[in-house]
């Protein structure tokens, strides 16, 4: 063997690019949100950290959660520490965990996610639990989310032709079968079209009653956490603006949404991450690979 002539690089935040297709990559596995910059109005936390804290609050104590990678993975860490100590995490490769992995992971099959797990068996086992209604919440990312919470992570059709994305992974299954799902993505007109060009993962279809009509047993989107706001869903299946992140104004949100976004009667400000939440995030994502 030769000796150390080759520099063993470690991933660093600056190495990641911000192009559209690169970041829709792990749509199935979690959140493909761009490395976020510090929130303008507040130097104390980043947009990634705000989104993680917001996602963490979606997890209720005792729930069974399809965790995913990237930001939702850290949300699970925060929720376990803060308000949901009895939440259980499921991963598509067959892993079930009562505690988060002891160090930051880049894929769900990284060795730290196996060590100390409650169970490591097969995908059919965890997907079976999902299908039979045992999973309360799933987190998803996507290239596009539309007005009715449908997700696209397969292909985007543009003027220059098709941009092929990696595909569903388990996203379609989670969107189809979990009792509720939450989406995280960058807020832009491009990412939030009125209608997705390919419905990889079913949201509310074209409105209320659609899921039942096509035969889905339950579920649907409950929140879209973006880099500007949180959207929630009305009884008619359409998304509305529920809260705006600190330092973002409403015009910015509306102008960067691909349809005429309805707003709640009283739009709230998304709560900032607390000192404890920030500590939990930074203890886990030490280098800020996902959150900075």
């Amino acid at each position: 063997m030769k000796t150390c002539t080759e520099n063993v690089e470690t991933p660093s935040p600056s190495s990641r690019e911000g192009s559209f297709s690169d970041h829709v990559g792990t749509a199935a596995l979690g959140c493909p949100v761009e490395r976020s910059s510090t929130v303008a109005s507040s130097p104390t936390y980043t947009m990634g950290e705000l989104m993680v804290a917001t996602a963490a609050r979606e997890i209720r104590d005792g729930e069974i959660v399809f965790v995913g990678m990237r930001l939702p993975l850290i949300a699970f860490v925060v929720a376990k520490k803060m308000h949901a100590p009895n939440a259980v995490g499921l991963f598509e490769n067959g892993v079930i965990r009562a505690t988060p992995a002891s160090e930051l992971i880049y894929t769900m099959a990284d060795p730290p996610n196996i060590l100390g797990a409650t169970q490591c068996l097969d995908m059919l086992g965890v997907m079976g639990l999902l299908q039979s209604g045992r999973v309360h919440l799933g987190f998803l990312g996507a290239a596009e989310v539309d007005r009715f919470g449908n997700l696209n992570s397969t292909e985007v059709r543009g003027p220059k032709g098709i941009t092929r994305l990696p595909g569903s992974g388990g996203a379609c299954d989670i969107a189809s079968l979990a009792h509720r799902f939450v989406v995280l993505l960058e807020h832009s007109k491009q990412r939030l079209p009125e209608r997705v060009s390919f419905r990889t993962s079913p949201g509310n279809g074209d409105g209320a009653g659609w899921r039942k009509r096509v035969g889905l047993p339950r579920g649907g989107p409950v929140a879209v956490i973006t880099t500007k706001a949180v959207l929630r869903f009305d009884e008619d299946g359409e998304a509305y603006l529920a809260s705006i992140h600190p330092g973002v104004d409403i015009e910015d949100v509306l102008e960067n949404t691909g349809w005429k976004l309805r707003a709640a009667e009283a739009i709230e400000q998304t709560p900032e991450p607390s000192a404890e939440e920030l500590q939990a995030i930074r203890e886990y994502d030490k280098e800020g690979f996902w959150t900075r």
Binding site: M1, K2, C4, E6, V8, E9, P11, S15, S21, D22, H23, V24, G25, R60, D61, G62, E63, M69, N93, G94, Y106, T107, M108, A109, D110, P111, I114, L115, C120, D122, M123, L124, M127, Q131, S132, G133, T154, G161, I162, T163, R164, L165, P166, G167, S168, G169, G170, A171, C172, D173, S176, L177, H179, R199, T200, P202, R211, V214, G215, R218
Partner: protein, 325 residues
């Protein structure tokens, strides 16, 4: 009977042009990169690639021109996002992709493993993934209207309570069975007949092996049959299903093998940087695949330092298991 051979022999004998090959069934762990690279070196053509997620191995085989079709849930670079050869093949060359989901590829292989033509599911109804896709068909449930147990959304509030029920839906999606011509799995250890132990991430390995017409087991170590028989719950592949056993240290690099080496995150990142154009990708393949004769040469090129960096730093042995009676 010993089925031990080297990688060159195993691929030459068992993977023919035009065959369907299931790879990377354990998700992001234990991906048989060494086997995939040998397929590339032997210039196999017209393959149908089957897998849930094969991280960058699918992309390398597509870049090398081995593929005619891909049947997969996700193709890319898990840590970094898109993979460029896959994108080029689909966007520019029109490579055929059968879009699956993780669950439905598991069901397709499970149907193949069980010898039934299809299995029913509730997933993906209303999704465009199934549209015009020969692996899917909708049927009416013969048992519609009956009740089945379901989660109530809040078991924690009533931990001793029975599960609530929900009606069995009328529509079902059926997933057509898949029987790969060859399934290749990477495991920690196997005996000479192919009885194999694996621990860590299983993914769809069990059904992928049972569904296959031929199976290649690639193991970090060949062990005595007594080692395998001492812990039968850890046996994921029974030897009678196996056609070839290849001993290949570091055969899954840069993916991790629990208890042997960790994931080489930098390698995945470098691949992303180094394959943005067709020319760059060709240069990458020349350096890491065509330019090395076998896995030993690849490991040599990787360097002792890098391998040491990936080695297990702190062992974590399971509690002893008593099979006595």
């Amino acid at each position: 009977m010993s089925k031990v051979c080297n990688m060159r022999e195993a691929i030459a004998e068992l993977v023919s042009d035009g065959s369907s090959v299931a790879l990377g069934l354990q998700m992001e762990q234990m991906i048989p990169f060494a086997a995939g690279h040998e397929i590339i070196r032997q210039k196999k053509r017209g393959l149908r690639l089957i897998g849930p997620i094969s991280d960058i191995l699918f992309d390398q085989m597509i870049g090398a021109g081995c593929m005619e079709q891909v049947i997969a849930a996700w193709v890319g670079n898990v840590m970094m996002g898109s993979a460029y050869n896959f994108r080029r093949a689909v966007e520019q060359d029109g490579m055929k992709v059968f879009n699956m989901t993780n669950f439905t590829i598991a069901l397709a292989l499970q149907a193949g493993a069980m010898g039934v033509p299809f299995l029913p599911t509730n997933t993906a109804l209303g999704s465009d993934v199934t549209r015009g896709n020969e692996f899917f068909a909708e049927i009416d449930s013969p048992f519609a209207g009956e009740q089945k147990p379901s989660g109530d959304g809040r078991p924690w509030s009533n931990p001793r309570g029975a599960r609530q029920t929900e009606p069995i839906t009328e529509k079902l999606l059926t997933v057509r069975a898949l029987n790969p011509d060859v399934t290749i799995v990477h495991v920690q250890r196997a005996d000479r007949e192919g009885n194999a132990h694996c621990w860590g991430s299983f993914g769809v390995m069990l059904e992928g092996v049972r569904a296959a017409k031929r199976v290649i087991v690639v193991a970090e170590e060949i062990v005595e049959p007594e080692v395998i028989a001492s812990d039968p719950n850890r046996t994921v592949v029974p030897g009678f299903l196996v056609n070839a056993v290849v001993e290949c240290r570091y055969g899954a690099h840069p993916s991790p093998v629990q208890g042997y080496y960790k994931r080489d995150d930098a390698f995945f990142r470098q691949y992303h940087e180094q394959t943005k154009t067709k020319n760059d990708s060709d240069a990458w393949l020349e350096r890491w695949v065509y330019g090395v004769a076998d896995r030993a040469a690849y490991v040599n090129q990787l360097g002792a330092c890098r391998c040491e960096g990936l080695a297990v730093k702190q062992h974590a042995y399971a509690a002893q298991t008593d099979f006595g009676y």
